[in-house]
Symmetry: C2
Subunit: 433 residues, 2 copies
């Protein structure tokens, strides 16, 4: 979350935030029309030019970032907060490399999703087109300015970026570089706009849609931000609030595989949304696997909170309450429960889960298929770690986040899910009888 900084709004271009934001919205809509007509090569060149300009502006960006960091330190921000905010040459290089990766992705626009011919001879094609205008609301990580801008543009969309107040100067410096890159490539600068003020009213205006100028909002940040966006937005949101992910170890699980998947799902990185938060152990597997699994987790530095059976398995296990089954710890803590087979595991996940990512470990194909079928989550895995919940790991090249909503985008949101489609119909004079 943001440290409680207050700054004079010297950046604010004009007295009326509503008018400013309306102009930004209209600019974006106009840019979107132009972007929709750009070819794959033009977009690729423009994004590559952005990467070059980001590299060229390293010093200016570092200077701006030092100011942001100094203010955050003065305001008493946590070390973790400062770490998210701070840039160095390596991070700027990585940001530019990430933009180059997006530049090199296959262009999704114009791809024919499906095509068919009608009995009257009309040929119908469903073809990918840009979504339109994407609003990105983010917090302290200034690199989102480049990531999200590039990904949105790759899909032919105009992007409105609203960065965190605390990273305002950094984001502005990165955005200035992006604008230079776009200008070099002959693409309108309004393709990627940064809200030029820390005024928090800008967020509310974006969540109201700027008179229909924004098609979708993507929040990038902590739960506080995502919850606010989901609660207030009057337009579609691609986001997840919770990643309460489960691993279910079935009685037919290979013991070594179970241990390796559980350890990786929980402990590879505990702060990512695909980290497992609850381990469910089949009561048929408990006699042989519960003790070693719990011991392994504790020895890896993980706090275990268990039901009665799990507490009986190891004296170091704390008691789990109902609260634990719904908690996304994002920390080295796991809730563990013994369940009666795959049906009980499914019931638990459906009752307490967040429809993000859930895995089963088993050699029983029927149990696996049931789990994959019945669990209503964006990602369901058989014999693989929940930490694969990531656009890169899915082969998308880059992602703007993970969505747990059910409409349009679900799971890792890559460049393809930032498009929509239209129908192109080619006839030879057909009229409807």
């Amino acid at each position: 979350m943001s440290a409680p900084l207050k700054k004079p709004i010297e950046e604010f271009i004009g007295a009326d935030i509503t008018a400013t934001m309306r102009t930004i919205g209209a600019n974006a809509r106009a840019a979107a029309r132009i972007l929709a007509t750009l070819g794959a090569v033009e977009k690729k060149h423009a994004i590559a030019a952005m990467a070059r300009a980001i590299r060229a502006a390293t010093n200016a960006t570092l200077t701006a970032n030092r100011e942001d960091v100094a203010e955050a330190e003065k305001a008493g921000a946590t070390a973790a907060f400062i770490d998210r905010l701070r840039l160095d040459e390596k991070r700027i290089a990585a940001m530019a490399d990430g933009v180059d990766i997006v530049a090199a992705l296959p262009d999704p626009v114009g791809k024919v999703i499906s095509g068919w011919e009608r009995p009257n001879g009309m040929r119908i094609e469903q073809v990918r087109v840009p979504l339109g205008v994407i609003g990105i609301i983010y917090e302290s990580r200034p690199n989102v300015t480049a990531d999200a801008g590039a990904l949105g543009l790759k899909a032919g969309n105009a992007v409105i970026l609203r960065g965190g107040s605390d990273s305002f100067l950094s984001s502005r410096a990165i955005h200035a570089a992006i604008a230079t890159g776009l200008a070099d490539a002959g693409v309108p600068g309004t393709a990627i706009q940064l809200v030029p003020t820390r005024d928090r009213d800008a967020v509310g205006l974006m969540l109201a849609g700027l008179d229909g100028a924004i098609d979708v909002i993507v929040p990038r940040g902590g739960k506080g931000l995502v919850a606010r966006v989901q609660a207030e937005a009057r337009l579609p949101v691609f986001a997840h609030l919770d990643g309460n992910c489960h691993v279910y170890v079935d009685k037919a699980a290979d013991p070594e595989m179970a241990k390796s998947i559980v350890l990786n799902s929980k402990m590879r990185r505990t702060g990512v949304c695909g980290a497992a938060e609850t381990l469910l152990v089949d009561k048929g597997a408990a006699p042989t696997l519960l003790i070693p699994l719990v011991r392994m987790l504790i020895e890896a530095g993980c706090e275990v909170r268990g039901d009665r059976d799990t507490q009986a398995a190891d004296p170091r296990v704390k008691g789990a309450t109902d609260e634990d089954w719904i908690t996304e710890y994002l920390d080295a803590i796991i809730a563990v429960k013994v369940v009666d087979g795959v049906d009980a595991a499914i019931a638990h996940v459906e009752q307490y889960g967040s429809h993000h990512t859930d895995a089963i470990v088993t050699a029983d194909r029927a149990a696996a298929e049931k789990f994959l079928d019945r669990i209503d989550s964006a990602i369901v895995l058989h014999n693989a770690s929940t930490q694969f919940a990531d656009g890169g790991e899915f082969g998308f090249g880059a992602e703007i986040g993970i969505a747990t909503g059910r409409l349009h985008a679900r799971g890792p949101v890559g460049v393809e899910q930032l498009t929509t489609f239209k129908y192109r119909v080619r006839g030879s004079g057909q009229t409807r009888p």
Copy 2:
């Protein structure tokens, strides 16, 4: 629109509409879980059983409908309104046949949209799953009860129906038949629920989402209803407000084809959303085509409102105002304008259109491709009538409506667009490095 009827709310089951609607929402969510596990054959049988039960309940439905019609007549409803409301044996038979058509459609659920293997050996599949719970809000046509219920169920969704006050008894009779059919097939009756009251607060509660129980709202009715739903809904809506469709006749158009497409687009049925409302004539085509096109339209009984050039072409042409370019007449009226080539046509459509359906008539392939590319509408056609904007004509078998939103559903919304997807990942013990 509804005639201003007032009735005692004798149908209202319980004193608290909020509690009633919350129960309906929870029922639907629970039913959706069960429906997601049904196989294609079970759903097909259930929908066919609905059709049989609708036929068997013909007399009861006609009795209920006579009451609705009598009240509407007493309240002074228009003839068109009564016609939409009135059922007869033929209409009930057609309704049941429509349900049978839905039963016979290919099942969209479980279809693998795409699949790929990762370098680490994981196999990822994107697979179609039901959307969840669909709320349908409709007006005087009681047949929507059957149509929308069947289509939603085919896609594995639970459906909450909120029919018009004026067709309440008819909808209730049809819904009772549907419930019998579902019971015969062993499918939970909560799969398709009808809001059991005329209380208009029910609509507001549905538009607020019933505590997240509804995933999407589909309004079926006039513009007043659609506008209210789009303005008030706090959740996604599949709908179109306006179908301001254009036909552009290019200078390279075949004259006979142009006449036939213009006449069909405007006059086949004037009250459908795919009817053309504006004709754009290339100034290169005007010398030879403007007079015959205008004469043809007027002689077919269509009022023509034109720009100065069009008024000069025929003394019967009235003057068009700016209002005409944005008006969906849904009547035998057309606005006509002479434009300077395909670029000007595109600019006009993008400025005044409603992103529904637009057509170009030309033998010039480059002009056609430009129009198909640049026009940002759900459906763009080359050398075919705008009246093909219809799920049946697209080969979808049935549609729940046409959407002009950009997310998830666009154009005719068939059974496939009432689904979403999830990712199914099959591994062999993979962990993330």
